[in-house]
Symmetry: C2
Subunit: 345 residues, 2 copies
DNA sequence: CACAAGTGTACAATCGATTGCACCAATGTA
DNA sequence: TACATTGGTGCAATCGATTGTACACTTGTG
């Protein structure tokens, strides 16, 4: 059974000093109408009794919890954990505690987490949606409840909520152009689920780079998949076995890119000479492997910071007519050995 | 200004059905003394009004929040995020929401997070301490407040709290023995901060493996450091420049091991033929790099599950005379190319 | 000297849900 | 018929902190 927490309350402080709880509360909140003498007495007594402010009670009364909910598909990716880090920095600074939860890419878990967050009375929710999510009604519920919602990276267009993304189109375009400039003439694209904005945009960038460089592009060059490491490995292996020719790979994910590299290496195909390859996200392992993987940096930490700031603004302007905003950050191509040839073209 | 959240309360349901809030509360909690008819009416009305249980209010009244606080040094490591995953699984199952925060290896941040968690009235706290922590008084405070505290992996011995760890000594012993069996005669140990149990134990395992195999060991073979990737790189580079001979490396961290491998490769030293190498933690990248890194699997997810279960038990037995327990999991050596020689011995 | 303005606290309602106790009605029992 | 049981709800206090309003006392001003 839950035991009585013997924490002192403002009533205890009040009793000890022979004032009322209201005075204690005001003193603790540094209210201007309380005399300096009283304040100091209260503060002293509070620390003597080892008083701990009960956030729950205050939250209930005030109608705000100073909690910020964050839901990501998984924290087990450098991209997401860096974003979380950025969110934390800004949120903590502003007096918020951050509650992180994971959808594990499953719609059901995502919906359940929304319930938990709402029940916990968080002051706002930041989300990047999972791959498994196709129905967004659980997010609509957040909006209906008048709780600020900010999305990042993976963003369903249909939701009237502010969002922070990077220019995936541009990142993909640059990476693909780079491969073409390195002499690639037939580039394979490991693509992600098309219902997610980021993968659609990356594919568009890939396609447009071909168009604008006058390079032909067949649909068979585009291989959709889960973008997991093994998926990348298997897709490329299948291509090789089928004898399909190609001299470049642009993967929408670093993980799939690594899988692809392993498939190539297993057959003794030289990287980047025979096949040049680029990924997306700049996961730390991209600089550990050999050759280093060319990839696109997403400025994840900054993305988190920006997202949190937008939440703060939105929270302060709650009630104002709401105009969702979209912030687009600029990605950066990181060129490494996996694509850098000695004699381009 | 914070807007009035127009969420319906049990009072609204009560009014709509012309019963009292107490009845509604009981109906929602499926109290046996409420008639089936009433319950169903309440449930229907609740969903009609889109009622959301206010967790805060219930928590305040009940004295328990159904929140579980988890603090790790960083979520940006596969080990920790897997543990968190394990904790989540068990905790969610038991009706707890998990609140994750990071100390970023800094004592100050760690202490601040403890305050946040306590104020948020979490029902329990699970911690793995940061490298920067030398004073543990902020944890003592958790115990004083009668809040269940469970530690994992990095555990200060001085705290009277239950803990879940793996047998670091054994993992290190096995890894080192393996290197010796592969023919290594002078193994370098990249060691971690000695004030953390895990690094002390790993070093002991390293030492004992030498002792029990009758291999000499000089203190110069042990190189303490931060165990970051660059630290591993720099330590090994320095050794090489100094002309120190060695034919094996056991790193207490996979990251430092990768740094070491890069240093070796940069000088054209063959792995594992000239120098065999093993790390610790089985981070995902260990199987991506080449050669694959021999390492020690820590069963992180299971560790999280176990930790959460211990919290649950402890919570249920609050008030009982408290006997801290220590659970030790068994690690597993994963042998890969970085240490596997063609002709051992 | 009267009154306005400013200081410092107290009172009591409130946030939303929970729960011990009281109460009434219906049913069962002797 | 009188009384004990059981089922089904209502009443009101409670969790701990916050806050609008009221009130008493000073101080300042004309």
């Amino acid at each position: 059974m839950a035991q009585r927490k013997n924490s002192p309350t403002i009533h205890d402080i009040a009793k000890a000093l022979d004032v009322t709880p209201s005075t204690v509360s005001r003193a603790l909140n540094n209210h201007p109408r309380i005399s300096q003498t009283t304040k100091e007495a209260v503060w002293r007594m509070a620390s003597t009794l080892n008083y701990q402010h009960n956030h729950l009670a205050a939250a209930l009364r005030r109608g705000r919890s100073s909690l910020l909910g964050v839901m990501v598909p998984t924290i087990n990716r450098s991209f997401f954990s860096s974003v979380v880090r950025g969110i934390e920095e800004v949120a903590n600074e502003a007096g918020y505690a951050v509650m992180v939860c994971q959808s594990h890419e499953m719609q059901e878990q995502e919906a359940a987490n929304v319930q938990v967050l709402l029940r916990t009375q968080v002051d706002g929710i930041i989300v990047s949606v999972g791959k498994g999510t196709s129905d967004f009604s659980h997010f609509q519920q957040i909006i209906d409840r008048n709780t600020p919602l900010v999305l990042f990276d993976r963003v369903p267009e249909s939701l009237p909520a502010s969002a922070v993304v990077i220019d995936d189109y541009r990142g993909a375009y640059q990476a693909t152009r780079h491969l073409i400039e390195q002499g690639c003439r037939r580039v394979i694209h490991l693509a992600g689920p098309a219902h997610l904005n980021i993968y659609r945009d990356r594919q568009r960038g890939f396609e447009d780079a071909h168009r604008l460089h006058g390079l032909p592009l067949e649909t068979s060059q585009i291989l959709p998949g889960s973008l997991q490491q093994d998926a990348g490995h298997d897709s490329i292996t299948a291509l090789l076995e089928a004898g399909e020719p190609f001299d470049g790979i642009f993967s929408a994910s670093d993980y799939a890119a690594v899988g692809a590299m392993q498939a190539l290496k297993a057959r003794g195909i030289a990287i980047p000479e025979a096949v040049a390859i680029a990924g997306f996200s700049n996961e730390p392992f991209t600089s550990m492997i050999e050759p280093g993987l060319t990839t696109v940096e997403q400025h994840s930490r900054q993305m988190g910071q920006t997202t949190a700031r937008i939440f703060l603004e939105q929270f302060d302007h709650q009630g104002d007519p709401y105009v969702p905003r979209r912030t687009v950050l600029t990605p950066e191509l990181i060129v490494r050995g996996s694509s850098l040839r000695q004699n381009p073209r």
